[in-house]
Amino acid sequence: MTDELPPPEGEPTGPGPSGRTWGKAFGADLLARLYETSLEPGYAAATERRRREGPQRPALRRLGKAGTAAMALLFGVLVAVTYRHALAAEPESHRTHDQLVGEVKSQRAQTDRLQRRADRLRQQVSDQRDRALSLGGSDEVARLHALEASDGLVKVRGPGMTVTLSDAPTPKDPVTGKENAENLGRVLDVDIQDVVNELWRDGAEAVAVDGQRLGATSTIRTAGEAILVDFRPVTSPYTITVIGSEQMRDRFTASATAARYEGFVQRYQMGFRMQRSSQLTLAAAADQQLRYAHPVPSGGSASPSASGHGGGR
């Protein structure tokens, strides 16, 4: 690189021949001085000396080069070691947390992908079966579809209502402004269970919580802070969509459960809203794996045997 800078005239090098000294006017223009002056006057002094005395001896120069290289090496090691220590000092729990979050995210994405694939395959299977059945020319197809719809195995559409439950805002301590740990208006799993059970009782034909269709073996339960529907987490606001007749909607609106939650709205600021819809679409429920129940061969009795352990929900 060519040095196009003029010799340092406008840039006094500290307490040099320019007559300016450190210490004078050390107040307001300290920063300006920092920028103006060379911070290491030794470099300029050394150059000056070399100009006067001629070049150094080769042995001395080699030694100097080696020293510089050694310092650069030391600097590199220092930076690397410090970086590694800073990494190690990062709290272990923080790293574990990040790792777990990543794992959960990737697993959830995979579950979604598999779920979509299962849905697609199920659709294919039922299409094929419908075709095969219709070749036989019977009304089996219609009967099958009705059974499937009531079982939650297919997507259904119809009039119904949406019930929304949501957590009350976290109460704040009026003095400290801190969030109060105990929130009485938080929606619990039993609240969702109550509402869903009331809906079934009132004649609901299909129910979904946050888009998760409920089947015969569906569960709604709490795990830690989260509410799981069929092992999938749902979050506030909890939207319960339900398909059913006009009477079902009337019965639910007039039910004791609805009245109780209206009371919770007044008392704990819990969110509870009911909205009627003329057209709702509910997704199919996840496939129910029957592990112990086996279909009775045709010709057998359809009624539950007396010795059977009561199934049910």
């Binding site: 911070l39 290491e40 470099y43 150059t47 120069r61 510089t68 290289a69 310092m71 930076v79 410090t82």
Partner: protein, 110 residues
């Protein structure tokens, strides 16, 4: 050029060989790095002005690192370690900033 290669080798050595630092010295590593960075930027600034001098660089590097570590060590002994290291970092940071500003001015004329 040799210095740049040495720097790369140093980083490589630091990462690959994982040299262990005595526990007592670990607290001074960040301060030492900041002090060394000051010496390095000062050296680069001088090099750009064709004023670089090996002896000056070695002395400024070693003394910077040692003095910075010593100040923090003293502060630790006196119970004002955190405040003193903040002070050292502020001063060295200002010097690094000034050096980099001068380097920038030499390189880009702006």
């Amino acid at each position: 050029m040799i210095a740049l290669i040495a720097l790369a080798v140093g980083v490589f050595v630091g990462f690959v060989l994982e040299p262990t630092v005595p526990t007592g010295l670990q607290a001074y590593l960040p301060i030492a790095v900041v002090a060394a960075l000051d010496a390095v930027t000062g050296g680069v600034r001088a090099w750009l002005r064709k004023e670089f001098n090996d002896k000056q660089f070695v002395i400024s590097f070693v003394s910077n690192v040692l003095v910075a570590a010593l100040i923090v060590y003293l502060g630790d002994k006196l119970g004002v370690g955190a405040q003193l290291s903040t002070g050292v970092v502020v001063v060295l940071g200002m010097r690094i900033f000034a050096n980099v500003a001068a380097i920038r001015q030499t390189l880009f004329k702006a």
